[in-house]
């Protein structure tokens, strides 16, 4: 299959501006700025059915249309925080096919009327930020960024901004706080960023992969895009496959591809030819899918179908768990992650993840009794529906699903 997003896998040196342009790059942006009205651009994206690739799957065109046109200036932000355990796709895009991402961001900027765009990268992406800065400078030099572009009165500049190690800064309002030079703690919502965002101005935030789709949609049209994927989720998605598979990595596939195809055709199957025992389709934030029936692997990966398995597709960071793994160990890992990353702002998440990490540690180290497992399940459920942002909720997913679906793993390690 030819790639739409990971085009560097076929086109060598597409991360060079001249090569990118030779392959049709930046024509869509130029066309949008010189020939289209902003809302026409938004309409194309709306019609394509593109949904956000950052996790929540919110329709992108619809989000862009929410921008408050009574309040100016507008900002646009690319979310390149990529910190969900199991997710590593945005990084590959930015390293391999940076101009397509930048062009998507530029088209988005035009559509929402932003003259300044920020790329918020997790602090660890230091080298990527430096490389992007160089690409942005090239675009400026060649007249794709700057003032009065292509002789219109539209101006645009792009800036990179590094985080400094905090998973929560992927959450869009925490990201804005961080971008404003503050502690990355989520804001109260509403108001939502398209009304009140960066510096209290209307702001659109999208994931890197989301933006990277846009130039191709503008070039080939909404219908073309919709011809791929499913009705619920048109288009293609990069699945970050990790865990106990032979060939972990990013796989760009149409939405609706089955787990089986991802794991066996692309991922080379499970290590040591073992059995898939559980799947975490959305990284550490997933509810674990219990694979007790081989047919489950034939589930199509889109938002709806995965939800039917009582999980979520999220950012499609698919972690494969085989029968060498005990769930008490696994949730000890995930809970410690969330405990460490809880921003501390709201009570249930701050205290709940702390409490859960005590319990999973006790359970995993064999000091706990059966009642502790019940208590853990109870504490996790007690957190649900009460936190300020989704991180707190995420922290309970693996806990509740693993205790409910893999109880025997816990009973095996607790004291009689």
């Amino acid at each position: 299959m030819t790639h739409i997003l990971l085009r560097h896998r076929e086109i060598p040196d597409i991360n060079q501006l001249s090569v990118y342009i030779k392959n049709g790059g930046l024509a869509a942006f130029k066309n949008a700025v010189t020939k289209m009205k902003p809302n026409e651009v938004t309409d194309v994206v709306k019609n394509s059915g593109l949904r956000g690739r950052g996790g929540a799957g919110f329709p992108t065109g619809m989000k862009w249309s929410f921008i408050d046109n009574k309040n100016w200036p507008h900002y646009i932000v690319a979310n390149a925080d990529e910190s969900e355990p199991g997710t590593f796709k945005d990084r590959e895009i930015m390293e391999g096919n940076p101009f397509q991402f930048l062009e998507g961001l530029m088209i988005g900027s035009y559509a929402v009327g932003a003259n300044a765009a920020y790329i918020y990268l997790r602090g660890e992406f230091w080298e990527i930020a430096e490389a992007l800065d160089a690409k942005i400078a090239e675009l400026e030099e060649d007249g794709y960024l700057g003032d009065t572009l292509f002789g219109t009165d539209y101006s645009l500049r792009i800036y990179t901004h590094l985080g400094a190690g905090a998973y929560i800064c992927g959450e869009e309002t925490a990201l804005l706080e961080s971008l404003e030079g503050k502690r990355g703690q989520p804001r109260v919502r509403p108001p939502f960023p398209p009304a009140v965002g960066l510096y209290n101005k209307p702001t659109i935030i999208n994931n890197v992969e989301t933006f990277t789709n846009v130039p191709m949609i503008m070039t080939n049209g909404a219908e073309w895009y919709k011809s791929m994927g499913t009705a619920d989720a048109p288009g293609v998605k990069i699945f970050s496959l990790s865990g106990r598979v032979r060939k972990p990595g990013n796989y760009e596939l149409p939405l609706g591809t089955t787990f089986r195809e991802l794991i066996y055709t692309h991922g080379g199957g499970v290590q040591e030819s073992r059995k898939v025992r559980a799947i975490m389709p959305a990284g550490a934030s997933s509810s674990l899918i219990l694979v007790d029936d081989d047919n489950i692997l034939d589930t199509q990966m889109d938002y709806l179908e995965v939800r039917k398995l009582k999980s979520e597709l999220g950012s499609a960071s698919v972690i494969i768990v085989d029968d060498t793994v005990s769930m008490d160990w696994l949730i000890n890992k995930t809970v410690h992650f969330f405990q460490h990353e809880s921003c501390g702002k709201c009570t249930p998440c701050r205290e709940g993840t702390y409490w859960m990490s005590h319990l999973t540690e006790r359970i995993h180290s064999g000091q706990a009794g059966k009642a502790d497992v019940d208590l853990l399940l109870n504490v996790a459920k007690q957190m649900q529906g009460k936190c300020l942002c989704a991180l707190g909720e995420f922290s309970t997913m693996a806990v509740v699903s693993s205790i409910e679906r893999f109880r025997e793993d816990f009973d095996n390690v607790v004291k009689a």
Partner: protein, 816 residues
């Protein structure tokens, strides 16, 4: 008028202003939703999640936008999750349920989470008895913690954030009220969280720690015992405290306060003041107060209190009877009418000042206000009056602050001016140097010392500041005495009064002149007809002087010298001072905590204070002492009842007309609701049950014709070669009598200082931190050098009441 919105809370229909948070609307409807992080004065944070409720919204048809009806009423759609009542704003038709099994589970869970990290050391906690966590746990909490106790974290229990406020890290529930107060309300962002997750802790990195004059307020709104004042911690249990309403006497703002008292073994079972707490008056101090007011109350219980009248015999002060002492004073005052001088300070009450002024009038003496600042006759002409309220100032109002550093001189006005600006008012800050208020100014105007009156006069001539001011509906001017003595402040006041009067900014609410006086009741003295004297030393020399509530001997060697040459000196005060030491007669007065009376604030609001603790020794209220002296001079003044004195005052002084003690004691419903059973909501600030006070009228309000005299410009001394122009500035924590008795504040008071421009310092060959000698007119003093880049090179800033007696600008020599 903002839009009203009607919603239903627990079946009750409530109509409130648009934009109100659901939790506040519920409070107005009498429904208590428990909160920790929410505070009605702060922006919503939604952090603690204690206020979770069920919220239903009327369904609208997507196509038509009309309500979907069901059984004749809009169909209500409830969200699957509980929502925070603090972050959701009211909407038309909203349905809020605070009493359901689901909500109860929510509250119970949040409390259990909070208690997992809480030490539960209520029996030794200062907050016990007025603690939100304790109260809410009793009401909604789990019976037992399922979190095993030995896994609890142990953290610092006595961590100083500064020398005034301590943090108990174990008790903190991370609600961020203190951080948000400092950032949003005080404008001193000197508290922050360090770290994140459960390791998150409050820290202050300022130097000195917790560097804000509003720090004490955080202990009132801290919903647990995490923040305590060094003054009160381990001092008493809240439930054993008595409470009496009072007025803070530290500055012209007139914050409403409550004095908490208790019998104390240390004082032989006497009732003493244990702490000072703010008392709500939304028009004056809201629910806040500054640290000076909170901590500098100790003088009333000081060991140096005077308990008995003293009369000089054989060069020594010896005990006397009231009769003998007042007779002696009366005889001397009556000797020669021309030579009788009263020198009284604005520390006294209206009643005291009225009797003093009456005595002077009847006996033919002079009545001087002990102050370096003039212009009060103008504030009684065109001052602010009835209906004036900083809280109502916003867009359409211009506030001009000139020659005053409000943060240092009247901290609560600083807050209120800042808030008015944030609500849309135009703020013009005029000062020769940078002050804290500059950060919030719409316009900053700098001028040279000595140019203040001219700058005000020229303001309305084609400047953008002037245009903004003239276009406003309302204008308030606060003028102070930075760099000014009697003559300078007189010219400045005149220029300000003229500007207001000529442009119609007088005689109506939220318009007029406010003096940023040195003392709490200077305005009262002006209303009574006191005046200030430029050359006080000359005015005292050879006279029979009656000094009340002032310590000129300590303040100024020149005055000390003048009093040496006085014919007779009677001193009436609460404490031994350098001036009582040279007196012929010493008359012990009661402290404001021991008696009743009224004070007139800078915004001309008369407010009552009440007797709180037993009287010290034989001391008497000032007005009574004056009446007794007067009687011996054949003048009959009221000497027993403060309220009767006030009635006479109201009959005599026009601006007080119509006011009575009963009127000043009136209260109205105020919002937010504080100090009741729901301390978690507004904090431990006291509810106002004893009076909101009332404005005096101004001549302009009474419709009298006001004419403002011409501005007389004061010539500023020209420093010669090798000299600097020393200008007096005011400091909150100075060496004043009342402040020095608060040992807690000594670190903040610091040493006498002189601020120089870095270039000037270099020229003089002195460094920051070095002690130098400052000399002028034959006097000199030691001061530590500080640097200030915002002043001119020929200027030396010298704080008042810090050891170097400076009343007005003078040329000085500074030497290493």
């Amino acid at each position: 008028m903002t839009k009203q919105v009607t919603l239903t809370i627990d079946g009750k229909q409530v109509t409130v202003q648009e934009g109100t948070a659901v939790v506040d609307a519920a409070k107005l409807a009498g429904v208590d939703i428990p909160v920790f992080c929410h505070h009605p004065k702060l922006e919503p944070a939604g952090m603690c999640r204690m206020c979770l409720v069920e919220i239903g919204r009327p369904m609208r048809d997507r196509a038509t936008g009309q309500f979907v009806m069901e059984n004749g009423a809009p169909k209500i759609q409830f969200m699957p999750k509980l929502e925070t009542a603090c972050t959701n704003k009211v909407e038309e038709g909203l349905v809020v349920v605070t009493q359901s099994a689901k909500v109860a589970e929510g509250k119970n869970s949040i409390l259990e989470f909070l208690l997992t990290s809480h030490p539960l050391d209520c029996p030794v906690c200062d907050k016990g008895g007025e603690c939100a966590l304790q109260d809410l746990t009793m009401a909604h909490g789990p019976g037992k913690s399922r979190f095993i106790y030995d896994e609890k974290r142990h953290l610092a229990k006595q961590k100083p954030l500064g020398e005034l406020i301590f943090l108990d890290q174990e008790r903190c529930i991370q609600c961020a009220r203190c951080i948000r107060f400092q950032d949003e309300i005080a404008g001193d962002a000197v508290l922050e969280f360090d770290k994140r997750e459960r390791s998150m802790q409050i820290v202050s990195r300022s130097d000195p720690g917790f560097d804000s004059v509003f720090s004490g307020n955080t202990t009132d709104i801290c919903p647990v015992g995490a923040l305590t004042t060094v003054d009160f911690r381990f001092g008493a249990r809240p439930w054993e405290l008595g409470a009496q309403a009072s007025i803070c006497a530290q500055c012209p703002v007139g914050c409403n306060i409550t004095l908490n008292t208790r019998r104390e073994a240390k004082t032989d079972g006497e009732i003493v003041v244990k702490r000072v707490m703010p008392r709500q008056n939304e028009e004056v101090n809201e629910i806040w107060m500054c640290d000076k007011g909170r901590f500098a109350y100790h003088y009333a219980g000081s060991k140096k209190r005077l308990a008995k009248p003293l009369v000089r015999k054989d060069k020594k002060l010896a005990r006397s009877s009231w009769d003998a002492a007042t007779k002696l004073a009366a005889e001397n005052f009556a000797k020669d009418k021309k030579d009788f001088v009263i020198l009284a300070s604005g520390r006294l009450s209206n009643e005291d000042l009225f009797n003093l002024k009456s005595l002077a009038d009847h006996a033919g003496g002079k009545a001087y206000l002990y102050s370096h600042m003039a212009g009060g006759e103008l504030t009684s002409l065109v001052g602010v009056g009835a209906g004036t309220n900083f809280a109502a100032m916003g867009a359409g109002t211009t506030i001009l602050v000139v020659a005053s550093d409000l943060y240092q001189e009247a901290p609560i006005w600083y807050l209120r001016v800042k808030q008015a600006k944030e609500r849309g008012a135009t703020l013009i800050v005029m000062n020769p140097r940078e002050t804290k208020l500059d950060r919030f100014a719409s316009f900053k105007v700098r001028y040279e010392y000595g140019e203040e009156a001219r700058t005000v006069h020229d303001l309305t001539k084609k400047s953008k500041e002037g245009d903004a001011l003239l276009k406003s509906e309302n204008v308030v001017i606060l003028y102070g005495s930075e760099g000014l003595g009697v003559l300078g402040s007189q010219s400045l006041a005149t220029a300000c009064a003229k500007l207001l009067n000529e442009n119609g900014f007088t005689g109506k609410p939220n318009n007029g002149l406010i003096g940023v006086w040195e003392r709490a009741n200077d305005q009262g003295a002006w209303e009574m007809g006191f005046t200030v004297e430029e050359d006080l030393a000359k005015a005292l020399k050879g006279k029979a002087v009656y000094i009340v509530g002032a310590d000129p001997v300590n303040d100024d060697p020149k005055l000390a010298k003048a009093l040496e040459g006085a014919a007779f000196v009677a001193v009436q005060d609460v404490m031994e001072t350098a001036t009582t030491e040279i007196a012929d007669v010493v008359l012990p007065a009661q402290a404001f905590t021991e008696r009743e009376g009224t004070l007139t604030s800078g915004e001309r609001r008369a407010q009552r204070f009440y007797p709180t603790v037993p009287v010290t020794g034989e001391s008497k209220p000032d007005f009574a002492i004056t009446a007794q002296i007067a009687r011996n001079m054949g003048v009959i003044l009221e000497g027993t009842s403060a309220s009767v004195v006030f009635d006479l005052l109201a009959e005599t002084v026009k601006s007080f007309e119509g006011l009575t003690y009963a009127k000043l004691a009136e209260v109205r419903e105020q919002f937010p609701i504080v100090g009741r059973g729901d301390m978690y909501y507004g904090g431990t600030t006291y509810e106002n049950k004893k009076g909101l006070g009332a404005h005096l009228s101004a001549a302009a309000t009474r419709g009298e014709k006001v004419s403002i005299p011409r501005v007389q410009r004061e010539p500023v001394p020209h420093p010669k070669d090798k000299e600097l122009l020393a200008v007096p500035v005011n400091k909150l924590y100075d060496r004043g009598t009342t402040v020095m008795t608060a040992e807690l504040l000594h670190q903040r008071i610091g040493e006498a200082s002189v601020s120089l421009h870095p270039d000037a310092a270099e020229k003089l060959g002195v460094r920051a931190g070095q002690t130098v000698n400052v000399s002028f007119n034959g006097t000199s003093g030691q001061a530590v050098v500080k640097l200030d880049t915002s002043i001119a090179e020929d200027i030396a800033l010298v704080p008042r009441s810090m050891g170097i007696a400076i009343r007005e600008p003078v040329a000085v020599k500074v030497k290493a």
